[in-house]
């Protein structure tokens, strides 16, 4: 038996340990539509700065201080494939080189 923290890379790739199993999306555009909406509208989301939000199709459907709370809210709403993202404070754009 391997001691903890010594799994080989192959084991890491082949054995999911977190979350649950894949299931197909109910909407073919799931994720992409919300990403497009978020990128187009994030400058208008100043009321949500510092919060996590859930975007479903073309709007915000939940917000909270933590990602987990937002996921709980969308779960209660029965919505699947919401985009869960943190709204960062507006700042001067810097260019990352890494």
């Amino acid at each position: 038996m391997l001691p903890r923290n010594s799994a080989t890379r192959t084991e890491i790739l082949q054995t999911p340990s977190a979350g649950t199993r894949w299931e197909p999306a109910r909407r073919p555009s799931a994720g992409w539509r919300e990403l497009h909406w978020f990128e187009a509208n994030k400058a208008k989301l100043t009321n949500y700065e510092g919060l996590w939000i859930a975007v479903y199709e073309d709007g915000v459907v939940a917000s909270a201080l933590t990602a987990e709370e937002v996921v709980d809210q969308v779960s209660q709403l029965g919505l699947s494939d919401c985009l869960v993202v943190k709204v960062e404070q507006a700042r001067t754009e810097r260019y990352l080189i890494a």
Partner: protein, 134 residues
């Protein structure tokens, strides 16, 4: 058989990084989507630790320990967990690394080991198109 799919990135992707949706499957909850950057500069895939409780990970140090160095050379410990996720419509298992040393709200990165070694990606930046074989 090789099937290359084309994705149009017809949005102003964040900070000139290529951002794509990644579906995650939280235990006991509906699937969610998070954003992730396709980052060939990242040796591994690194995700925001705010997602740990959603994935049912209560002890981040129970993962496989990986030493990390940030772009500013700050060292940290990371812990990798194999997570089944969906990108470009296909399910794959990717070792995602999280760090308790860095704050919540970090950008999710899909990096070389565990992601780009499973997925062929070509980028036509000027045309905003991704060519994907997965």
């Amino acid at each position: 058989m090789t099937t290359v799919r084309v994705f149009r990135l017809d949005y102003a992707y964040s900070g000139n990084h290529v951002v794509v949706p990644v579906r995650l499957f939280p235990a006991g909850r509906p699937p969610i989507t998070v954003n992730a950057v396709l980052d060939t500069g990242a040796a591994i895939s690194f995700f925001d630790r705010a997602l740990l409780p959603i994935l049912g990970i209560t002890d981040v140090t129970s993962g496989t320990k990986i030493p990390l160095t940030a772009a500013n050379n700050d060292p940290a410990d990371g812990y990798a967990f194999p997570v089944q996720l969906e990108v470009f419509g296909a399910p794959i298992t990717v070792p995602l690394t999280f760090s308790p040393d860095w704050p919540e709200g970090t950008t999710n990165l899909l990096g070389m080991q565990g992601f780009f070694d499973q997925v062929e990606v070509g980028l036509d930046h000027s045309a905003r198109r991704l060519y994907v074989n997965i």
